[in-house]
């Protein structure tokens, strides 16, 4: 985890770290963010600002790794930032709870949208290990159908990744992880 607090600037619903040194450090120390215009950085020596998504940006704020400023350069209090996150990302609290849990467990957690899911979770990092898990966050009140079950199972087999459903209860602050495997009867 980086030591000194880096500065991030909130742009709409993303957080930009302008300082290149800080950008490199954040990326290196946990694959936080994405260097602007470099989808797959070869090393940690890129020359670009770092774009953090709200999930990781808010997480790093709670860890006091970054401070986030608004357009006037004024620091946004974590509580206020959380409100902004909730307003611009659906089910933020449920998803963030899962993000934090996985990060605290030492995993590298990145967006899973390419796999049609919430998170891609790496043991070491993208490019080092193949994303072993794709995680979909659901609430306990959500419904399961035959189609959704098969879709999840299909997804995991086609991308050869382990599919995990995270049942996230934001009120009870609990998460249950369920793993789906095709069973060849």
């Amino acid at each position: 985890m980086p030591r000194a607090r880096a500065r991030g600037r909130l742009f709409e619903n993303r957080i930009v770290v302008w300082d290149i040194e800080e950008s490199r450090r954040l990326f290196k120390e946990g694959y936080y963010g994405k260097p602007l215009g470099i989808p797959k950085p070869k090393d940690f020596l890129f020359d670009a600002p770092l774009i953090l998504d709200l999930m990781e940006g808010y997480y790093l704020t709670t860890k006091k790794v970054i401070g986030v400023e608004d357009s006037s350069g004024k620091e946004i209090a974590p509580k206020k930032l959380h409100e902004l996150c909730e307003a611009s990302y659906n089910d933020f609290a449920e998803k963030f709870q899962v993000y934090r849990k996985l990060r605290e467990a030492g995993f590298v957690v990145t967006p899973g949208i390419k796999f049609g899911s919430d998170f891609a979770v790496y043991e070491h990092g993208p490019g080092i290990d193949h994303a072993p898990y794709i995680v979909q966050v659901v609430s306990p009140e959500s419904k399961m159908t035959a189609t959704s079950m098969v879709r999840s199972g299909r997804l995991a087999t086609t991308v050869r990744k382990q599919f995990i459903i995270a049942i996230s209860d934001k009120d009870k602050k609990t998460i249950d992880f369920l793993r789906y495997d095709w069973w060849r009867a």
């Binding site: 306990p140 159908t145 079950m149 049942i167 789906y180 009867a185």
Partner: protein, 181 residues
């Protein structure tokens, strides 16, 4: 797909009757054959079969069933059974599919539409390894219910399997287990 029939190939059909709303096997000397393969439960002088067990035996032509008005066919029992239980066909569909794949299948624990499934060759030496839950296409189930079922199964040392039944009856299975991070 290989069809496995009760009691091996070319056996004389078992004889059963419909009594007290269910199928009973009456020829005592043959109880053992059925019980060995995991069919039925003793009830005094008879061996009581679940409807899906009887349906499967009828389907595999291993049962001659007598009702009050004479012979009862597979179709006849299927209709009779449907009147008693809303999910009788769903249960039969899974039961048939798993039996035909060589598994021994027994009644479940009553968590929705469920069946206990023994690994091939395990019955009756070892307990059931799996519990299969039906999830019919077009039906919604709560995530919290799935969560509870998986927890319960884990406590009992069994693996939870979801049998997704597509709308014409084909079955796809998924194993659902708890993961820790």
């Amino acid at each position: 797909m290989q069809e496995e029939h009760a009691g091996g190939a070319e056996v004389r059909p078992f004889e059963g009757v419909i009594r007290d709303g269910g199928v009973k096997i009456t020829d005592k000397e043959r109880f053992g054959e059925l019980e060995e393969s995991g069919y039925g439960t003793r009830e005094g002088e008879v061996l009581a079969l679940r409807d899906y067990e009887a349906l499967y035996l009828l389907y595999s032509k291993k049962l001659l069933l007598q009702g009050e008005q004479g012979d009862v066919s597979f179709e006849g029992l299927a209709e009779l059974s449907q009147k008693k239980e809303r999910d009788s066909w769903t249960k039969f569909v899974i039961y048939r599919d798993l039996r035909s794949r060589g598994y021994t299948v027994r009644e479940g624990f009553g968590f929705g539409t469920d069946l206990r499934v023994y690994e091939r060759g395990d019955y009756p030496k070892k307990p059931a390894k799996y519990v299969v839950f039906a999830l019919d296409e077009g039906i919604e189930k709560g995530m919290d219910d799935l969560q509870k079922s998986v927890k319960e199964m884990a406590k009992m040392g069994k693996e939870a399997i979801i049998a997704v039944i597509e709308r014409r009856g084909e079955v796809i299975y998924y194993k659902v287990s708890r993961a820790r991070f």
